[in-house]
């Protein structure tokens, strides 16, 4: 069943508004950091995996040409994986398969986005085709807002309770962001701040929503033999899962969200996880919207459907809780889209190798990383662990 693959180094940029540097320079910042972390040189790399959000967001088409030098990919094979918002995890999964197949021993995986250079909502509108859906999807918040309404209705969750739980997610994550030197938003908010923030797309308020960030993330993966040689604490890839649904938003169940449930169960099966809340030590979830985070707790089997608000309000998923989620501050604090999913993998790797600094969850050995994309259509999950 393929070769074992580990993350042996990660690098992130300082995320935020980075208009002082060009896009290739931003990428180089992450790549240099990853090489330094892994303690290897570009000569040790057999191939490069690169990806961003749609090229329309970047204003440069087929960006791997432009980024070729910054990616250190000259003279090397490259794969250009893109799956919208879930690109980051898809990149990591590509790196995994490349090494697992035996066709490369060490690969560099890089995801990036310079969101301040483009217009994210205008770009996302073009994800919807111009014949039908484009007229109704009011950017990302519109689609996610509808999903949260479907969920509340399905399980008769009182709106006030959901509002409180979503606000707690925002408060907790922003608090965690203060511990993360790479985070874009590093500011504390109260429950009241979140609940009184301006409405973006009712019921979604400003502090329920992720920021637009510039940032890049680089991850170096290696086969078992090389990983053991190069790295004292490799983060082993224990499981991968990915699934997507129909393009048409109305066609599939977005509450018992098939792609989310399937991608997690696929990864759990591969990793041998049967009770995720007990077995996982930490999770990095792609939650551009607070309500969606709650939905993920249920779809990933952290709790039963309809119960995420109760657990959240109890603190189960907060730092210090039974299964801390997004100790990095998560996507609510940092969202350079094409990098975001890969940051989740990098953060999970840091946690299981004990290298997460102030945001370290003590003794973390098994972590989940996740990304979501499309018109609430794709989910990808990777499980990383400290033990082979």
């Amino acid at each position: 069943m393929g070769r074992a693959v580990a993350v042996i180094g990660t690098g992130q940029t300082r995320h935020g508004m980075r208009s002082e540097v060009t896009y290739p320079d931003l990428i180089r910042e992450a790549v240099l950091a990853a090489f330094q972390d892994a303690g290897i040189t570009p000569d040790d790399i057999d191939g490069v995996v690169s990806g961003t959000m749609p090229s329309m967001m970047e204003g440069v088409a087929l960006t791997h040409f432009y980024f070729a030098d910054a990616l250190r990919s000259v003279g090397k094979p490259i794969l250009k994986t893109e799956t919208c918002g879930s690109t980051g995890v898809s990149l990591a999964i590509t790196g995994y398969y490349w090494v697992a197949s035996g066709l490369a021993d060490v690969v560099l995986v890089v995801g990036s986005e310079k969101m301040h250079e483009g217009d994210s909502q205008a770009t996302m509108t073009t994800v919807a085709e111009p014949l039908y859906q484009r007229f109704f999807i009011s950017g990302a918040p519109g689609a996610f807002g509808m999903q949260s309404k479907l969920w509340l209705q399905r399980y008769n969750v009182p709106e006030d309770k959901a509002r409180d739980a979503a606000a707690k997610v925002s408060v907790d994550h922003h608090k965690s962001g203060l511990l993360n030197p790479y985070a874009h938003i590093r500011k504390e908010y109260s429950m009241e701040d979140v609940k009184n923030a301006p409405v973006i797309v009712y019921p979604v308020r400003l502090l329920d929503v992720c920021p637009n960030s510039d940032g890049a993330c680089a991850v170096i993966m290696a086969c078992e033999e090389k990983a053991k040689k190069i790295c004292s604490k490799p983060a082993w890839i224990k499981g991968v899962g990915y699934a997507g649904e129909e393009y048409w938003i109305g066609d599939s169940d977005k509450v018992v969200w098939e792609s989310a449930v399937k991608s997690a169960s696929e990864a759990y099966k591969m990793a041998g996880i049967s009770n995720p809340r007990q077995e996982l030590d930490v999770a990095e979830i792609y939650n551009p919207f607070t309500f969606q985070e709650l939905l993920y707790y249920e779809c990933f089997g952290f709790c039963d459907f309809g119960t995420a608000c109760d657990y959240t309000l109890k603190g189960t998923f907060a730092r210090g809780g039974e299964l801390p989620c997004d100790p990095s501050g998560g996507v609510l604090c940092t969202n350079p889209i094409g990098a975001t999913g890969l940051i989740r993998c990098a953060e999970a790797a840091l946690q299981v190798s004990g290298k997460a600094g102030e945001r370290q969850i003590e003794g973390a050995e098994l972590a989940l990383a996740h990304a979501m994309g499309g018109i609430i259509q794709f989910n990808g999950v990777m499980i990383l662990g400290s033990k082979l």
């Binding site: 980075r18 208009s19 002082e20 540097v21 060009t22 896009y23 290739p24 320079d25 180089r28 240099l32 570009p42 329309m56 204003g59 030098d69 910054a70 250190r72 000259v74 310079k114 301040h116 250079e117 483009g118 217009d119 205008a122 770009t123 073009t126 111009p130 014949l131």
Partner: protein, 152 residues
Amino acid sequence: MEKHFHVREHEVWLPYRFSVGPVFHRFYQGLKEGKILGNRCPKCGKVLVPPRSFCPDCYVDMTDWVETAQEGELVSWVLGRKEFFGMPMDPPFIGALIRLDRTDCNFLHLVGGFDLDQKENLKKLRTGIRVKAVWRDDKKGHFLDIQYFQPI
């Protein structure tokens, strides 16, 4: 164009705000002053123009700035006869790669300063001929502040 089947025409219209970064910014400033700036890799010693933030070969920061010659050799050229999206000027025009003296890469720009409809003039264009930058009067910090390179 009229199709024999049904289509819906539309356009993607998006705004961008590209971060120029300090290196291109300084290069553009140079253009405003009628200078072509490049920089040298501290490791391999190559002079690249336009300047780079890092050496594409050595991956180290390019720190050593130089003002390059405004003359060089013609390396290759195309004669644009047809309008196209993004063209640098109305056709006919000549797009070219030029090796500026004492630099280690080819510089993409235009060649002009003579009547392109005269066949005799075109015959004089050859790889290796010397060309020299001709500047516009109103410089804006743009590659086309250099109007073209003229054969000497």
